[in-house]
């Protein structure tokens, strides 16, 4: 009998692929932002908020953050699966991490559209 655990790995390629796709999104995002900051020598409040007042920038910033949260979920889950053995503790950590990341997602929307 295959013993599948709820806090196991789901035995699939999906998370592995998500980890890489989100990594590429974040890599493009951070290199673009770094290049922009390097190019804009005197960055102040007006320039900074001006950048984020553009809808495409906001949308990509949210895509970046959601990618970050997915990426963090897979990464933290991998770490927990390797070092935390008792299923109850593992499940508790998983729940805390998932809830935190969901709240970060809502918070991110508030930050980007509520400014």
């Amino acid at each position: 009998m295959v013993n599948r655990v709820v806090v196991g790995a789901h035995y699939g390629l999906r998370d592995w692929l998500f980890q890489r796709v989100t990594a590429v999104v974040m890599a493009i995002g951070s290199v673009t932002l770094a290049a922009y900051l390097l190019w804009q020598s005197d960055m102040g409040y007006d320039r900074w908020t001006g950048l984020f007042s553009s809808q495409p920038v906001r949308a990509f910033a949210l895509l970046f953050l959601i990618s970050l949260f997915f990426h963090a979920w897979v990464g933290i889950r991998d770490i927990v699966m390797d070092y935390v053995k008792p299923a109850a503790v593992r499940l508790a950590i998983h729940i805390v991490v998932v809830l935190a990341l969901m709240m970060y997602s809502i918070w991110s929307v508030q930050i980007l559209w509520g400014m």
Binding site: S30, L68, A72, G75, I76, I111
Partner: protein
């Protein structure tokens, strides 16, 4: 030849090879960045909300201790970034043999530290 079983590994004598070292640092830096997420989001919020919050954030960020923490996070990000690019290269079979695995690990270590120093000096 008779083998002695069970075999006990002398953990304090085993040296982690450089690719293994880069791997564990990839985990450590990723965990550090995850734990810092609420702080980083708060910083983004303060930087965007109003001129007052922006100015107070800049005040907090100029504190030497805060700068030191940010420098640690900057290294975490850069190491995680460089090591991540290396893993993508491994997935695409750009890095295949042991020699390449070792030399690329060296590049990751040096590049992430060098970039941390460069960006750190520019921001300080």
């Amino acid at each position: 030849m008779l083998k002695k079983r069970p075999k006990h590994l002398a953990l304090h004598l085993i040296k982690l090879p450089l690719p293994g070292f880069v791997s564990i640092l990839h985990r450590v830096s990723g965990l550090a960045l995850f734990l810092a997420l609420p702080l980083l989001l708060l910083m983004l919020q303060y930087s965007l909300r109003s001129v007052e919050t922006y100015t107070s954030l800049m005040g907090v960020l100029s504190h030497p201790f805060v700068k030191l923490v940010l420098l640690g996070l900057l290294w975490s990000f850069l190491h995680h970034f460089c090591a991540g690019i290396r893993y993508l290269a491994i997935d695409l079979h750009y890095i295949g043999n042991l020699a390449e695995a070792r030399s690329s690990s060296k590049v990751v270590m040096v590049a992430s530290l060098l970039l941390t120093v460069l960006i750190g000096v520019k921001l300080w």
